[in-house]
């Protein structure tokens, strides 16, 4: 079983502010972390390995310092990692990114065929959730997004059953391998790396693949290969909240409760309570 996990280094967005004047992200001094959705993806891959054996390879595209997230995944237990890093990959949108990742996976699978690709559901810096499906489409893999549980996996029949977490319900689907899964954040609790693993991962040199190696058409990668342009980034204005105060009068009515109900009715969040 060979599982590839795609991870991304992102700025810790809880610490990112938007510059009100220039409308751009203020990234100074903001630490970079592994995309929080990707840790459960790594964990899911490691769980597959724990049960069925095989190998987990981590793949990431980003600047040279993005090897930190690959090291983190290796510290958690992944076997290998490859960093896709080249100036010409920079500035890519989801279309161009999935192109590079898909081609890198093709390259990897020449030596070791890939059975499952796992991505986080989305990243916290872009929130598009498009790269995973993009990779699957380009590689012709079956895909299951929003997976919060792998129900079963049959290696001989090459079948996998997963549970997808949709807005109001779960969907259990079965598909055949090779396939790509995107994982929900609460699918599992990512393991904490041991210190010997951390020291081992720190000491590794992570191979870097650039475009001399991948030889992709420059028009399909990086900024040139990205049809998306960002017009403006802004923080939506927060609506002011309102506080209703009041105590119950002892006869089952309370001013605060009544006011809240009335407003919820007005906003059509609940149906009229008058007839109830």
């Amino acid at each position: 079983m060979h599982v590839i996990v795609c991870v991304k280094m992102v700025p810790d967005t809880t610490q990112v502010k938007i510059d009100p004047v220039t409308n751009t992200l203020v990234r100074e001094g903001v630490p970079f972390i592994m995309n929080p959705f990707d840790a459960p993806a790594v964990e899911e891959a490691l769980r597959i390995k724990d049960i069925y054996g095989g190998k987990v390879t981590v793949l990431s595209m980003g600047p040279p310092m993005a090897d930190a997230v690959i090291r983190k995944a290796i510290a958690m237990g992944a076997d290998d990692g490859i960093l896709l890093s080249d100036r010409v990959f920079g500035g890519a949108d989801t279309l161009a990114t999935s192109n590079v990742l898909a081609n890198a996976i093709l390259e990897i699978s020449k030596k070791e065929p890939v059975d499952i690709i796992i991505c986080g559901k989305q990243t916290i810096d872009g929130d598009t959730a498009q790269v995973g499906p993009g990779i699957a489409t380009r590689l012709g893999f079956n895909q299951a997004t929003l997976v919060d549980k792998i129900v079963s996996l049959d290696l001989t029949k090459k079948r996998i059953v997963v549970r997808r977490k949709l807005e109001d319900w779960f969907e259990i689907i079965e598909t055949s391998l090779p396939s790509l899964l995107t994982i929900e954040k609460d699918a599992n609790r990512p393991r904490y790396p041991s210190v010997p693993r951390r020291i081992y991962a720190e000491g590794l040199s992570i191979p870097i693949w650039n475009n001399y190696f991948l030889k992709l058409d420059p028009n399909t990668i990086g900024l040139t290969g990205s049809p998306t342009t960002v017009k403006r980034i802004f923080a939506p204005e927060k609506q002011k909240g309102e506080i209703f105060e009041g105590n119950g009068d002892g006869n089952g009515t309370c001013f605060a409760v009544e006011m809240i109900l009335k407003n919820l009715e007005n906003w059509k969040i609940i149906r009229s309570t008058q007839n109830v």
Binding site: T14, Y192, S194, G203
Partner: protein
């Protein structure tokens, strides 16, 4: 004594000696399975320690019943030469110690006679204590009764021998007890009868004596032999800081098997007297948790016995005859079986140090627990689940809640507190800590301190959003790897800013900055705010104000202040300075304080509602019927407030930090000589 008797005795004696010496040899072998640790410095001081704590039993005497033990011990010391004479006279019937001089010899015999009676009485007391009083921490084992009765009968045989002696060797010996018994019991017996009786007593005495000799190293009374060296090799100071670790490839971290301990740890395990004092003062145990420090040490001993004996007889040797490591140990260190430590109990410890404080033979329990945590966290990755988020939050955001570091200085936004800087010549760095920065309750404390500092015109600054967690809880929970990186960053930051003096409100930050960071090259002075307030009152920068005269205040000592760092009088002086009287004292106070339950990282662990430590402590405080529970630790404040809620206390009892109390009654002298006083203060601060 007939020659044939001497021969028989010689044979039995030699057999007994062989058994005894072999056992001692094995025990030394077992101890040397531990890792090397240097404990041979300051030999004279070590010797003095052995005299005071080993021979004079200073710590034993702290408890009421310690006197009984003292008497038993000194009875033995006096009887030792007499028994030597006894043994030698078994070989050479003419042998006598009388060559030491007539007077000393007489005195020795008289003392021995009296002490034998004292020992008998002490034995009776010890038995009564076990049968009648039955203290919960003292398990009455069969072993204890065997020992006590052996000692009792040994003394009886001694008297028997003395009173049946037909012609006492030296007629003029003064043996008051024996003489008394002789007139009471055997007057009028025939010499031939006496002779037979005398021989019987002699043989009973001889066999009991030899039995005792062999039994000691096989029983808990091994401590008779081991506790003296254990006092000799003790740690001179309270173990405030675990050792700094190195991190590199192919190393193992923490303790996973008995031979990972140091030889001194193993000697600890063999020195336990099973007195139960540690158990009786362990807050975790008292509140019903699994941990029992006495059992912990005893389990280490069992584990060492099982595994050590196996290793000694099964270890392979390499070609040059050096022993090679044994890979599989028959009894795991952590597990549920006999001789293994229960894993849950490892997480129960608050590192409060009460066990170490009371142990009469200087056994150090919780440092061993920490070393086991290190292994569980760093190698096994086995720890309570809630700690994952805690560890990750501190590593990524440098605070337990994972709040953005940029928010750290927010509490001070409207207070106009300067950021600490070299150029401003700030005298003190106010290290706020995670609790002070983010915890709503603790923010009030830090605000009060700021008011006091401003009123006293102390020159200080804060780090704002550059401040980082000190890493105390990480270290006490065994995550040394992340602690190490935090400590390096903090010490570097402080050095870069040329920090000379640090103030902190949290005893845990205090201990970490002051003691843990030493090994990382920290050279700054650290002051707990109670120390600084004490100076301010002593120097009359803060005026004494007796506004609290009517309210009764009970003071709770934080373990990390009182026990770890001996800050005991300072907070009391401060309280006295503005209330006019010393605070009420709980039963367990000062060095014998009882933990609030939050130390050792337990603040961040889920706590089983049935066994909360803070409830025990709050109950103890309530016994004093206080209006105010005063303390000087943010954890303790939280724990008492929770305790009051859990106990559904209706009376209006406040839990306040000392500096909050001051703010309420603050008055300041606008002393013209203030400059001079500040100068003086600076001098004190700089040491």
């Amino acid at each position: 004594m007939k020659p044939v008797e001497s021969l028989i005795f010689a044979i039995i004696f030699l057999v007994a000696m062989v058994v005894f010496i072999r056992r001692i040899y094995t025990l030394i072998n077992l101890i040397s399975l531990g890792n090397w640790e240097y404990r041979f410095d300051r030999l004279w001081e070590r010797f003095k320690n052995m005299v005071f704590y080993g021979f004079l039993q200073k710590k034993v005497l702290k408890k009421t019943f310690g006197f009984n033990h003292f008497m038993l011990f000194w009875g033995f010391m006096v009887l030792l030469p007499i028994n030597l004479e006894f043994v030698l006279s078994g070989f050479f019937p003419k042998f006598s110690l009388s060559f030491i001089g007539e007077f000393p010899y007489k005195l020795l015999n008289m003392l021995a006679d009296i002490m034998s009676a004292v020992v008998m009485i002490a034995v009776i007391f010890a038995v009564l204590r076990r049968v009648v009083i039955k203290p919960s921490y003292l398990e009455s084992t069969k072993e204890a009764y065997i020992i006590l009765s052996t000692v009792g009968f040994l003394m009886a045989a001694y008297f028997g021998m003395n009173i049946t002696a037909i012609d006492p060797k030296e007629k003029d010996l003064i043996l008051p007890v024996s003489e008394f018994l002789r007139t009471m019991i055997i007057s009028g017996m025939k010499d031939s009868e006496l002779y037979i009786l005398n021989r019987i007593f002699w043989w009973v005495h001889a066999s009991l004596f030899l039995f005792f000799l062999i039994f000691i190293p096989y029983s808990k009374h091994l401590h008779i032999i081991t506790s003296l060296p254990n006092c000799f090799f003790r740690n001179f100071s309270f173990p405030t800081s675990p050792s700094k670790m190195q991190f590199s490839k192919n190393m193992s971290f923490g303790i996973s098997k008995i031979t990972d301990f140091s030889w001194k740890d193993l000697l600890d395990a063999l020195s336990c007297t099973e007195c139960g004092r540690c158990k009786a003062s362990c807050p975790a145990n008292i509140s019903g948790k699994t941990l029992n420090p006495k059992e912990f040490i005893h389990t280490l001993k069992k584990n060492l016995m099982e595994n050590g004996l196996y290793i000694i007889s099964n270890r392979p040797f390499d070609t040059i005859g050096k022993p090679m490591p044994v890979l599989n140990y028959p009894v795991p260190l952590i597990g549920n079986g006999e001789g293994s430590i229960n894993e849950e109990s490892i997480w129960d410890c608050t590192t409060c140090g009460a066990c170490v404080e009371v142990c009469p033979v200087f056994i150090e329990h919780f440092p061993k627990i920490l070393n086991i945590r290190r292994n569980l966290v760093m190698e096994e990755v086995r720890f309570p689940e809630e700690l994952i988020t805690f560890f990750e939050n501190i590593e990524a955001r440098s605070n337990p809640w994972g709040i953005a570091p940029s928010e750290r200085g927010k509490w001070a936004q409207h207070l106009d507190i300067p950021i600490f800087s070299k150029n401003e010549n700030h005298e003190y760095l106010l290290y706020v800590g995670c609790m002070g920065s983010f915890d709503a309750r603790t923010k009030k404390i830090i605000n009060s301190l700021v008011t006091v500092l401003n009123t006293a015109s102390v020159s200080y600054g804060i780090l704002g959003s550059d401040e980082m967690c000190c890493g105390d809880a990480l270290r006490r929970l065994g995550n040394e790897y992340v602690f190490d990186s935090i400590a390096i960053k903090n010490v570097n930051l402080f050095k870069k800013l040329n920090v000379k003096n640090v103030i902190t409100i949290c005893p845990h930050c205090y201990n970490t900055l002051k003691n843990d960071y030493r090994a990382y090259g920290a050279e700054f002075n650290v002051f707990h705010h109670t120390e600084l307030l004490n100076m301010l009152y002593k120097n009359q920068v803060l005026k004494r104000d007796f506004a609290f005269g009517e309210k009764s205040i009970v003071y709770h000592d934080s373990c990390y202040l009182a026990r770890y760092n001996s800050i005991i009088e300072e907070p009391r002086y401060v309280l006295k300075s503005f209330t006019g009287k010393l605070p009420l004292e709980m039963g367990n106070s000062k060095k014998d304080t009882f933990c609030c339950g939050a130390g050792g990282g337990r603040m961040w662990l889920e706590d089983d509602a049935a066994t909360r430590i803070n409830r025990e402590r709050t109950k103890e405080a309530l016994l004093k019927k206080p209006n105010i529970i005063a303390t000087s630790c943010p954890y303790c404040v939280t724990m008492f407030e929770d305790g009051l809620k859990e106990l559904n206390v209706n009376e209006n009892i406040q839990v306040l930090d000392i500096c909050e109390l001051i703010v309420e009654g603050l008055k300041i002298v606008k002393d013209t000589e203030k400059e001079k006083i500040i100068e003086e203060k600076r001098r004190v601060a700089n040491g």
